[in-house]
């Protein structure tokens, strides 16, 4: 080889070696993965949270803020059995592939004993968590997440949306048997789950508008609903769609009976967007409190929640119901950890499955966390109606187990 060739080779080889060193410097050495650190008695209990903080469902990010506030408050109180809870978080942008990537990091690098996440994309991570025998908890109502026989490591915090749909169907059958129903929801399996629940009570919507997350303009679908003679609209879609649709319906003077699904009936998701007028008279089967609802202004539990949100630096999200739900999820995890026999996935899962009338800061008075069935821990709802300023209870709390909806 001549000098020119040799120096070119040297430079190229040096470049490759430098690039390799840079890549390796950004990686974690094999010996330093989190699973080893978990074995020590005083080491933190690691929980991973993959949550949408950007993308089409970036609006649910306050849920993570609430979760962080609950964990921070627990650590402030001394942790669990003297052990700190370490919450490692990552944005999945509501992309299932990024969710799985995050889960792998939590499990393989951080040594997480449980992974929490938001929404139906949790389905994508079930196989992996099952293979690694790590517990997953999702804040989601999609019915597929109730399949704990096939995916025994997966649980869900929200109740199965099909149960609430059955309550709506039951109400319609009893109070408006001739209703012509229109349904607005996401173009995913949440809608399939909801429609299955309605069908179980003999209600088949005449019109269905299933749209992607983030859609704001449903004027064409609303016109179609009107033309089809729809007189009852069930809305199960997040911000900004639900609020924008109700505002449009109000603008054109169309006033059908409206059912808002529990998880999209709060002020931040709907009422603050549409204004209170368009929501007046709407129904909802609720199970959690809304910190923006004036009727909880003097609630002691909400006051504690607000303090914890402020202490953890999340006061700007404090009035968002999703933040309270995240806080509730964090409180449930802390409660399960406080009862577990062992600080691992198996122990946490066993404790999670054995709630027994456990109070939770996000739940409405009279509703508690119960022993797991179908991977769910909440079974009670309170029918409420919006009076133009606040949600007002109608009748008694209903338990889907007692109604035969859940076996």
């Amino acid at each position: 080889m001549n000098h020119q060739t040799r120096s070119r080779g040297t430079v190229a080889t040096f470049a490759v070696a430098t690039a390799a060193v840079l890549v390796l410097a950004g990686c974690t050495p094999r010996a330093a993965t989190g699973s080893d650190a978990q074995s020590a008695d005083d080491s933190p209990i690691v929980i991973g949270a993959s949550w949408p903080q950007s993308g089409p469902l970036g609006s649910v990010a306050p849920g993570l803020a609430g979760l962080e506030a609950a964990i921070a408050a627990a650590n402030e109180d001394g942790g669990v059995d003297g052990r700190e809870i370490e919450l490692v978080t990552a944005d999945d942008a509501y992309d299932p592939a990024r969710l799985v990537e995050n889960e792998r990091k939590f499990v393989e690098q951080d040594g997480a004993i449980a992974v929490v996440n938001f929404g139906g994309i949790s389905i994508a991570g079930r196989e992996y968590l099952g293979q690694k025998q790590v517990m997953g908890v999702s804040m989601a109502g999609n019915s597929p997440l109730s399949d704990i026989e096939a995916f025994p490591m997966q649980r869900a915090f929200w109740p199965d949306v099909s149960w609430e749909a059955q309550l709506q169907g039951k109400w319609l059958t009893e109070h408006a048997p001739d209703a012509v129903v229109g349904y607005i929801g996401f173009n995913n399996d949440l809608t399939e789950s909801h429609l299955a629940g309605l069908a179980a009570q003999g209600v088949t919507p005449a019109q269905v508008a299933a749209v992607p997350p983030g859609t704001a303009d449903l004027s064409a679908q609303v016109s179609q609903f009107q033309a089809a003679g729809v007189d009852t609209v069930i809305i199960n879609i997040g911000a900004p769609t639900g609020g924008a649709t109700l505002a449009y319906m109000d603008q054109i003077g169309w006033k059908p009976t409206v059912f808002l699904s529990s998880t999209v009936s709060d002020f931040h998701t709907v009422i603050n967007i549409s204004g209170p007028g368009p929501v007046e008279g709407a129904y909802s089967f609720e199970f959690f409190k809304d910190p923006s609802d004036p009727r909880y202004a003097d609630d002691d539990v909400i006051a504690q929640y607000l303090d914890d949100m402020e202490a953890s630096g999340h006061e700007k999200d404090a009035t968002n119901a999703l933040a309270l739900e995240g806080y509730g999820l964090g409180a449930a995890l802390v409660d399960a950890l406080s009862r577990t026999d062992s600080f691992d996935s198996e122990g946490l899962l066993a404790a999670w499955d054995s709630f027994d009338g456990t109070e939770n800061p996000m739940l409405r008075d009279g509703i508690t966390l119960e022993e797991s069935s179908h991977g769910r821990v909440i079974f009670q709802y309170q029918l409420s109606r919006f009076d133009g300023a606040s949600w007002v209870d109608e009748g008694e709390i209903e338990d889907v187990r007692e109604l035969g909806i859940v076996e």
Partner: protein, 362 residues
Amino acid sequence: MSAPVVHTEPTGRATAPDIRPRYRTPGFWTAVVAVAIAVAVPFLVSDYDLFNLSRVAAVAIGVASLNLLTGFSGQVSLGQGATFGIGGYAAMMAIRYLEWPVWVALLAAIAVGALVGFVIGLPAVRMGGFNLGLLTIVIAALFPVLLYRFSDFTGGQAGVTLAAPAFPSPTDSLTDAQWSYLVVLTLLVLTIAFLDQLVARRTGRALSLIRAGRILAVSNGVDVERLKLQFFVISSVLAALGGAIFAFVLGLVVPESYPLVFSITLLVASVVGGSRSWIGAILGAAMVVYLPSLASSVIPGEASAYLAQLVFAVVLGLCVIVASSGIAGAGRRLASSIERVLRERRATAPPTPPSTTREEIR
């Protein structure tokens, strides 16, 4: 093929034409060093890092397939992400529903990729002009919609998942992640070796003529349409292969992974990495895999998505304006500059007695 005629030149004499066997070229030894480091990596870093590096390798195959198309044959595809996804779905469904072995599923993905490439490429190449780009946009836009439309078949939003790792380790001394990485690395090296040979041969010279001008190519006896179609099909095959490997590494295929913007991202990765460089394909793939996570770790929240887009846009703009051959090309130019400086320093240094040089000893 005649035997190579290369020998050490006596100092001070004119050099003969530099025709050396491949193993004596700097590129060969650089590649050997790179592969040696890559093979050592699984014993140094965590399984999670290996998972990400495996994803880089899989995406790199997809970007390399685009490099073949854009960088070497002068065609533009805005649907490579969809072909990547089609390969992923074909392989995963073959395993999940037909219970085919992994390697047969990979062959199925290759076959589907070839079919897709032929079906899209045939009319587009015949129509000429921008039609290939336009047709591929249609495919990229339609693909996720079709995945949702036929959700009974494709799994809809939940997609298709694997119940067990696609590349389980055959030995206790390697974890699944280590084994998977080595398998994917091998497939990447084989792909690049294949592509390198492909563009270095007669077809490569024919492609250069096509890029220079259609009339020039035709006047030199090149069947332009046929060659373009061949390369579009090969590119689609490799994209599908990369997609299948990516799906195996992730253990999952879902519609959200393959929107139109993913196809555009692959094209940007090709340009940013260097569309006429296989190393550039790996660099571009690394950006695709690592940039979103890095952005969200730097600026959590909604701004992170915009930061990733901003970085991509800035780097793309820089590449278009000041480094048209991408990061790989810029790196090559930098290496040449360093080499020139070294050579000039050597030229100005006092001459070394011939009897003491290492070359003479050899």
